[in-house]
């Protein structure tokens, strides 16, 4: 695309939408392709070139002979052919395909997988396998060899391919000429920058780099460390600030206090029997989230009644994924949590002893405020439980809590004998341990004083993501040369004198270090989409290298840089071989640290901790005048993912809010403060705006309720309210930076919250909190009940005198109270799985099925994103979500149990996708046969045949069908919402007045992201989960190619299954007795959701298990017979006092297998209408 007007009549008139460069400062005068062009803007050959329609020489064609014509055409066609070969964008250097069996050449239509890794924000990395179709990265899976991922992936990595094809990303360097209002933007080339930088940075050689600042993202990468070393070697006085905008690394700091040196904590939750979580964010945040989620799933999973299940205690202010599934949870304001940890430490140390000075420190610690008897009882019971499970117990605290408390937690774990078993400590880099925000705060004075001459922001956005109180943006203006490397537009890039376009990690070379030290290469999947884009290390290498006037354009290639760093770092006998091996495997074998106790004796650790503990602060109980405010992150992290629509539309944990970051409070607090949002039953549910003031800093945000939060506590999320990011992210949500203090503290006390003017619409995908006593939906029992009854099958005489067997899970639901549904027609799927009708389709071939273990689902919704990526599911925008038109094929339903919104019992998660019913209600009602049944048990959706009557969706009891009300797939998403703010409210608008039907088409570049194996659905067509039928078919071809008799179990995975970090989703052949899914389906806990409807779903769910401590709550051992008095049980419905699903049927006691009595489907009904 030429950015220079070739038509003389429009020279100087630029469409601001078409060209980012001109919108940066609103100066839309003249744009120049290069400095040369700028220099020669009046006269010269270049001008004549621009005014000509065709390049010089083009008109010579006119006088050519037939021979010349044929030559030219032949050449043109050859070039055109070469240009359309997808390989033209392939990276320059050979990278190793993941599978050695695949030939080196590309087979058209066949995807190739390459191993790479993704640096995580704040440090750490994920090892990935990236699927490339004809050279385009389209899908991301976890690298099975990488210790963090082991085949799983996170929402961030799943969404990463979107960042390449973002049409709004920076495409070329832009130079800002002049200062202030006279500044004008000049479109430059990378060569211009190279030329400029060669001479510019040479100026610092004389001053040893005084006045030179590098602001980089906190990241763990050996090559970047080497770049830093190079820079430090060349300019010893240059400042290098590596910061994490979300705040200091409290855990890292705490571990440094405990061990005297930087450490990282690596949890091995799979070894844990008892886990105590204090607002733990281990499952959803940080470098180890995937590892922890996997370990947690493993510790909680009960495959059979012989398995062991860990017990989880949680004390937290807001719901965390771990707290949501905890067996005992206590909601406590964040500022009070340290006191609870100290109390637990005291209880444990008193009983175990041997903690030396720590015992005294803990004993003398003033908790300043009593701990409620209820909490004390819980801590007391938990302390015994933890001690009883010594060596298999772990206490973990959230990153938000103060560093001293993390030190104490490390001490408790020492006492519990956790190191080496459930936790290990590995060395951390020096840079990692520094608190970058305080470095920034120190440097800001120098910047303000104008003593910083050049500031290089490398993929960082401090003008947005630092606390407003820091005043970075103003100080940044005082820097003479502001060089910003950025992938997309950002608030910092907008101020840059040199705005440089960066390559994404999928387009560049690099390396990462995972939380456990594993070093993995980053290999490009595709050459940078926009020529010249440099990666972080390429830019740093360019700057660090001395270049002479002769070779100022010399660009160190990322490939060479990484290789040379590795050559220095690894002592490999055959570098080439090992290098290729590392590229192929996606990691360097042997770099993983062995966990240890920080290399220190326990006694010295105790001494360290006891010395810092005195400085730990414990707040006072928050009140409605002085709230606790937690400023934390969600999927947006610090805002860097704001322009990725998948993440914007991913329902947020607990609230399922999308496209916004309302501050969360408990329902009771909202009521007390007069901040209650509208119910969803009004047309446009709006949240009340509130003014949050902390120490004089204030911000206005909408307030939403979250049941189960501690009272007088508010949670706010960073990363929203971006101003310069692109149409998707700009203006979405509210910027909470103004309330943060300059240290970027995460937990504030004494905040004042009062209603502000205006109400603001919020969209969420799930509006209803409660299961409405329909406890057969998510069935939950206590562990002893499962251990006792789990393997017992009950024989039941049905309506027609036939015998059926009900397993444990089914006995908990309606089926034990209804006669079996017998079809009067001969149906191939009529008989049970163990007894397929002879010669029926059901008796042959693979019969696909899925099983979801609700007990291990943590509600992270990664499956939703993976499915979205795999199946080309469009996002619809906030307005459409508000109308209930989200398109996700797999959703995670969230239910709270109990009757009090303020103190809900448990938060249940239930991923719901198409259940692929054998008796599918959707199939019979479709008038045009657009949804039909396949011989392998799949419920097909034939898009070509669908006319869109939507009857199937109405008749689907699971409501998993999604209708394209508009042409969502081909239209740009505008994330925002019609803002209905009073005049003068500083809410930047991202107007979504434009309904999808009138939106612009997506740009061609965005279509490159689509999975070519999946149809892009048009308007008016129904769609739904297909069990990834394209993967099934691909696996079938592969099976034939490999000459296999049948499909081995695990030969392929569905996208959701592959992504699920806890391994809660299992998929495979139900007829294969040895397959994971058939074992799971045979387990006593498996039941069909709404199975009483005789839909015979192929997806089954496992009953959620709870493992309560008998000291705190007597587990229900017999979920079928609840004491003697059935009548009174009817009164309180189907949930016992602990909010657990219990089936109560007053008629059941009569052992009535007759018709009328057994038709009472749910005992809950009695409680409801009695």
């Amino acid at each position: 695309m030429s950015r220079v007007d070739q038509c003389p009549s429009t020279v100087g008139k630029k469409d601001p939408k078409k060209d980012r460069a001109s919108t940066v400062n609103g100066n839309a005068q003249k744009l120049w392709r290069s400095i040369d062009e700028y220099a020669a803007h009046d006269e010269g050959e270049f001008q004549s070139f621009l005014s000509r329609e065709f390049p010089a020489g083009a008109s010579e064609m006119l006088a050519s002979s037939r021979r010349t014509f044929l030559q030219l055409m032949g050449g043109a066609m050859a070039l055109a052919g070469a240009a359309t070969i997808p390989g033209c964008r392939r990276p320059d250097h050979k990278i190793m395909t993941y599978s050695r069996n695949v030939p080196g050449e590309i087979v058209p239509g066949k995807a190739l997988y390459y191993a790479t890794s993704m640096p995580l924000p704040g440090g750490g990395a994920e090892g990935l396998l990236v699927k490339t179709n004809e050279g385009r990265p389209t899908f991301v899976e976890g690298n099975p060899l990488h210790p963090v991922n082991q085949g799983k992936s996170s929402a961030w990595s799943n969404a990463s391919p979107l960042s390449i094809y973002d049409p709004e990303r920076l495409k070329y360097p832009v130079f800002r000429e002049g200062q202030g209002d006279n500044a004008r933007q000049v479109v430059a080339t990378w060569d211009d920058f190279r030329a400029w930088s060669a001479s510019h940075f040479a100026e610092f050689d004389s001053t040893s780099g005084n006045g030179l600042v590098f602001i980089v993202d906190k990241k763990t990468s050996p090559t970047r460390d080497a770049m830093r070393a190079q820079i430090a070697a060349r300019w010893p006085l240059a400042q290098w600030i590596s910061y994490d905008p979300t705040g200091a690394d409290n855990r890292g700091a705490g571990l440094r206090m405990a061990f005297g040196q930087p450490k990282r904590q690596i949890l091995s939750l799979e070894n844990a029997d008892v886990i105590f979580s204090f607002a733990s964010d281990d499952l959803d945040k940080g470098a180890s989230a995937l590892r922890n989620a996997r370990g947690f799933g493993s510790a909680r999973r009960m495959r059979t009644t012989n398995d062991h299940m860990c017990r989880v205690y949680a004390v937290e202010g807001n719901y965390t994924p771990m707290g949501a599934v905890a067996d005992h949870r206590y909601a406590l304001a964040p500022s009070r949590i340290p006191a609870a940890i100290v109390e637990l430490a005291r209880l444990i140390i008193d009983r175990v002893g041997g903690a030396g000075p720590l015992a005294n420190a803990v004993a003398s610690f003033d908790t300043r405020g009593e701990i409620s008897p209820e909490l004390r009882e819980m801590l007391d019971a938990a302390a015994d439980d933890l001690i009883g499970a010594r060596g298999k117990a772990i206490v973990t605290a959230g990153q938000d809590l103060p560093a001293e408390i993390h030190a104490l937690v490390a001490g408790i774990n020492q006492v519990l004998g956790a190191p080496g078993k459930t936790v290990s400590y590995v060395p951390a880099g020096a840079e990692e341990a520094r608190d970058g925000l305080s470095d920034l705060a120190e440097m800001i004075g120098t910047m303000r004083a104008g003593r910083v001459k050049t500031c290089v922001c490398v993929e960082t956005n401090p003008c947005y993501d630092t606390p407003t109180a820091l005043g970075f943006a103003e100080a940044f203006d005082r820097v003479t040369n502001r060089i910003v490397l950025s992938i997309g537009p950002s608030e910092t890039a907008a101020k840059a004198t040199w705005q440089l376009n960066a390559a994404t990690f999928l387009e560049a070379w690099g390396d990462t270090e995972a939380d456990d030290g594993t070093i993995a290469p980053i290999q490009p999947m595709i050459a940078p989409l926009y020529d010249g884009a440099l990666s972080e290390i390429e830019l740093l290498a360019l700057i660090a290298e001395k270049r002479t006037a002769d070779d100022y354009t010399r660009q160190p290639a990322g490939y060479e840089v990484v290789r040379s760093v590795w050559q220095g770092r690894f002592d490999w006998s055959d570098f080439e071989k090992s290098w290729r091996r590392a590229l192929h495997d996606g990691l360097v074998a042997g770099t993983t640290y062995r966990g240890d106790n920080g290399g220190q004796a326990s006694s010295s650790v105790y001494a360290n901790i006891s010395s810092v503990l005195a400085s730990a602060a414990v707040g006072v109980n928050p009140s409605s005048d002085a709230l606790d405010v937690v400023v934390t992150t969600n999927n947006m992290y610090d805002g860097r993912f704001a322009n990725l629509p998948w993440l914007q539309e991913l329902p947020q944990f607990g609230t399922t809010v999308v496209w916004d970051n309302p501050a969360l409070v408990s329902p009771q607090t909202a009521e007390k403060l007069g901040l209650e949002p509208d119910p969803y039953t009004v047309k446009e549910p709006k949240a009340q705006m509130a003014k949050v003031t902390i120490d004089g800093r204030s911000v206005e945000v909408p307030v939403w309720i979250m049941p189960g939060m501690a009272n007088n506590t508010m949670v706010m999320f960073q990363g929203y309210g971006r101003r310069e990011v692109g149409v998707i992210g700009a203006g979405v949500g509210f910027d909470v930076q103004p309330v943060r203090d300059i240290m970027g503290t995460r937990i504030y006390t004494g905040a004042k919250v009062e209603p502000a003017r205006g109400r603001y619409p919020i969209s969420s995908t799930q509006n209803h909190w409660s299961m409405e006593s329909r406890t057969s939906i998510v069935r939950a029992v206590d562990l002893p009940a499962y251990l006792r009854h789990g393997d017992v099958k009950e024989e039941k005489i049905g309506l027609y005198g036939n015998k059926t067997e009900l397993n444990f899970g089914e006995k908990l639901g309606e089926l034990s109270h209804t006669p079996p549904n017998e079809s009067i027609y001969e149906n191939p799927f009529n008989k049970s799985r163990s007894e397929p009708a002879p010669n029926s389709a059901y008796s042959k071939g693979p019969q696909w099925g899925m099983n979801v273990d609700q007990g291990t689902c943590i509600g992270c919704a990664t499956c939703t994103i993976a499915c979205q990526s795999e199946n080309n599911i469009p996002v619809v925008g906030k307005t459409e979500v508000r109308k209930g038109r989200e398109m996700t094929w797999i959703r995670v339903d969230r239910y709270f149990t109990g009757s009090d919104m303020n103190e809900p019992g448990v938060m249940h998660h239930q991923p719901v996708m198409c259940q692929h019913c054998e008796n599918a209600p959707c199939e019979t009602v479709c008038p045009v046969n657009a949804t039909t049944h396949g011989p392998e048990g799949l419920n097909y959706m034939v898009y070509n045949r669908c006319i869109g009557t939507r009857y199937c969706a109405n008749n689907c009891p699971y409501k998993v069908r999604r209708f394209n009300f508009f042409d969502y797939a081909t239209k740009k998403t505008k994330g925002g919402y019609r803002s209905e703010f009073p005049e003068g409210t500083p809410k930047p608008e991202n107007i979504n007045l434009i309904p999808p039907r009138l939106r612009e088409k997506v740009e061609e570049i965005q279509k490159l992201r689509n999975n070519p194996d999946v149809t892009v659905r048009s308007r008016g067509v129904m769609e739904k989960c297909s069990y990834c039928i394209q993967r099934i078919n691909a696996a079938r071809y592969e099976m034939k190619l490999q000459d296999l008799e049948s499909m081995p179990d695990g030969f392929f995975q569905t996208a959701c299954q592959a992504a699920c970090p806890t391994g809660a989703i299992v998929f495979g052949d139900l007829l294969n007795d040895n397959s994971e899914v058939s074992k799971a389906a045979d387990d006593g806990r498996s039941y069909g959701l709404l199975g009483y409807l005789n839909t015979r779903p192929r997806t089954t769910y496992k009953v959620t298990l709870s493992n309560p401590n008998p000291r705190l709550r007597k587990p229900v051992e017999d979920p079928f017979h609840h004491g003697g008095d059935h009548g009174s049980e009817g009164e309180h419905g189907a949930e016992d006092s602990n909010g657990h699903a219990v089936f109560i049927d007053p008629l059941k006691k009569h052992e009535d297998t007759g018709y009328a009595g057994s038709l009472r489907v749910l005992g809950a009904a009695v409680g409801v209408h009695a």
Partner: protein, 550 residues
């Protein structure tokens, strides 16, 4: 004593010298047409002792005269509203079904509500025509033609909605079993497909039945036009302004009767009033009535299968077929009354043909069918309780009945349910009072309420069942958009436009059939003393008028 010629009076009336219908004083023996308690007596079906010629003049005369200003205004308004529907439909097809308020929880809302509503309206016509014909209920003659026309127009309106509600209108032909090389057929198990067949059959048979009944009347229209042309009494067509302004009227250079003669000549298929024609006609009419009768039951039963065969609580109900049929008859009669009562007041002499007896009969049907739907509503609760299915119980108790301000679990759409109950079950109960049954105004008001109530019935069934189905995680709401509302309003305009055109150009009453039920049709007419008395009374009455005229 001057000879009173009723025709003369009629002619004067038709010529506009007398305005409006003349109310007769109550006949001491025959009454004002309302039902009498004495079982030995039957109320007359036609008042004021109309002769054969009177009937022809009243019905045909209206069609031949220039219409009143009200008609132009009404047509202009209705056509404007109808054009709104067309604009909305065009907008919908261009942009997508998303312009309605539907979503993934509530996939059907106003579209199917309107479809069932209009189909229900279309029921009274065939019921009155066919079932009452077979049962030899002669009072049907007063309303059957208009009701049949209403049926056709309502089915047209109903047909719009399933047609446009599909996501890809341009593929709607896939609903029909069109032989194709891919051997892909529609899904014969789907109630939506049954709908396609049921509604198209119903529309076809109703149209035939309507047309068939009009053939003798078309012939009458033809002959009258032809006679006037022969006698050179035919006038040129005048273009009247729709407002009374003192401007010269424009005369077109052709005679309206010529158009009429050709038009009705074509439509009457060569009808010559011969005995053989009448013989064949009566047979065919009876056969069509026989064919139509099961259709009355089948169409709405099949429409109810759209819901009853599903598994959704609130839809999955075996009572639906009879309940829907009763509801359709109920709603259809309400619509007949809603249209005919104003016509009776607006059009001269129509009150003689559509008497209080007719209104009273129809009020009774409203009472009966309204109570039947009330029974059906209550049975739904009984079955929900008796069946012991929580999902069903919740669907009825919480999602429909319980107001959200009474219980936390109460439904946001409670008002729709209570609107339905008050309009459909409570309001017709006033017809237990004879006075109310005889008050055209009261009947009209109830008819209006019932029409609203029947729309809400379908809304309640569709939306309240869908918005809170099995899994609370997917509960949602439906809110209509302006496009939803305007499409429905527009469909009312389509209906009204067609009906106004019908009353202007077609025989609104079955001339030949009414002639069968007037006393003059009786072979004993001239030996009937009562009749002579009545004649005398009439004579006095006419005399009075003549004197008045002087």
């Amino acid at each position: 004593m001057s000879v009173i010629n009723p025709d003369q009076i009629n002619a004067e009336r038709l010529a506009g010298l007398r305005r409006g219908a003349v109310r007769s004083p109550a006949d001491p023996t025959l009454g004002d047409g309302s039902l009498v308690d004495d079982p030995a007596q039957t109320a007359p079906l036609v008042l004021n002792n109309r002769s054969f010629h009177d009937i022809t003049e009243i019905v045909a005369g209206y069609s031949e005269k220039a219409p009143g200003f009200w008609w132009f205004h009404a047509l202009g308004f209705a056509a404007t509203v109808a054009s709104i529907a067309q604009i909305m439909i065009l907008y919908l097809i261009i942009t997508g079904v998303g312009v309605w308020g539907l979503n993934n929880q509530v996939d059907w809302a106003w579209d199917i509500t309107n479809f069932v509503f209009w189909i229900g309206i279309g029921h009274a016509g065939t019921l009155i025509s066919a079932i009452l014909c077979l049962l030899k209920q002669q009072w049907r003659t007063a309303v059957n033609r208009a009701a049949e026309a209403m049926t056709i127009f309502a089915v047209i309106c109903a047909g719009i909605f399933p047609g446009i509600h599909v996501g890809r209108v341009w593929f709607a032909w896939m609903l029909f079993p069109i032989p194709n090389s891919n051997v892909i057929w529609p899904n014969f198990r789907s109630p939506l497909l049954w709908d396609v067949f049921a509604v198209s059959t119903y529309a076809t048979v109703s149209l035939l039945f309507w047309y068939m009944g009009m053939i003798p009347d078309f012939a009458t229209f033809r002959d009258r036009a032809h006679l006037r042309l022969r006698q050179n009494k035919s006038r040129l067509v005048e273009l009247r302004l729709p407002v009374p302004l003192p401007l010269p009227t424009i005369k077109l250079p052709w005679r309206g009767d010529l158009v009429r003669a050709y038009f009705f000549g074509f439509l009457s298929l060569g009808w010559r009033m011969s005995g053989r024609h009448w013989y064949r006609y009566e047979k065919a009419y009876l056969i069509l009535a026989g064919i139509s009768t099961p259709l009355v039951l089948s169409v709405h039963s099949i429409v109810s299968f759209d819901f009853a065969t599903s598994i959704l609580p609130g839809w999955h109900t075996t009572i639906f077929p009879p309940y829907f049929v009763a509801g359709a008859v109920f709603g259809g009669f309400a619509m007949v009354l809603l249209l005919m009562i104003p016509l009776r007041a607006l059009l001269p002499n129509f009150a003689d043909l559509l008497t209080l007896r007719h209104l009273e009969n129809m009020a009774k049907i409203l009472l009966v069918t309204g109570t039947m739907v009330g029974f059906a509503y209550s049975m739904e609760f009984f079955i929900a309780w008796y069946g012991g299915n929580t999902f069903e119980w919740d669907a009825f108790i919480y999602n429909r009945v319980t107001p959200s301000w009474v219980s936390e679990r109460g439904a946001p759409y409670w008002w729709a349910y209570w609107a339905m109950i008050s309009c459909n079950v409570i309001s017709p109960q006033i017809f237990w009072f004879k006075k109310m049954r005889r008050s055209p105004l009261a009947i009209w008001i109830v008819g209006f309420f019932v029409t609203i109530g029947m729309w809400f019935e379908r809304f309640v069934i569709i939306v309240t069942s869908l918005h809170r189905a099995f899994l609370p995680g997917e509960w949602g709401m439906f809110f209509p958009t302006p496009v939803d509302i305007l499409t429905f309003v527009g469909s009312c305009g389509v209906f009204l436009t067609l009906f106004l055109l019908f009353i202007r150009f077609f025989p609104i009453f079955p001339i030949s059939e009414i002639k069968n039920v007037i006393p003059g049709a009786s072979p004993h007419d001239y030996h009937d003393h009562d009749h002579h008395d009545a004649h005398d009374a009439d004579a006095h009455h006419h005399k009075g008028h003549v004197e008045e005229a002087h």
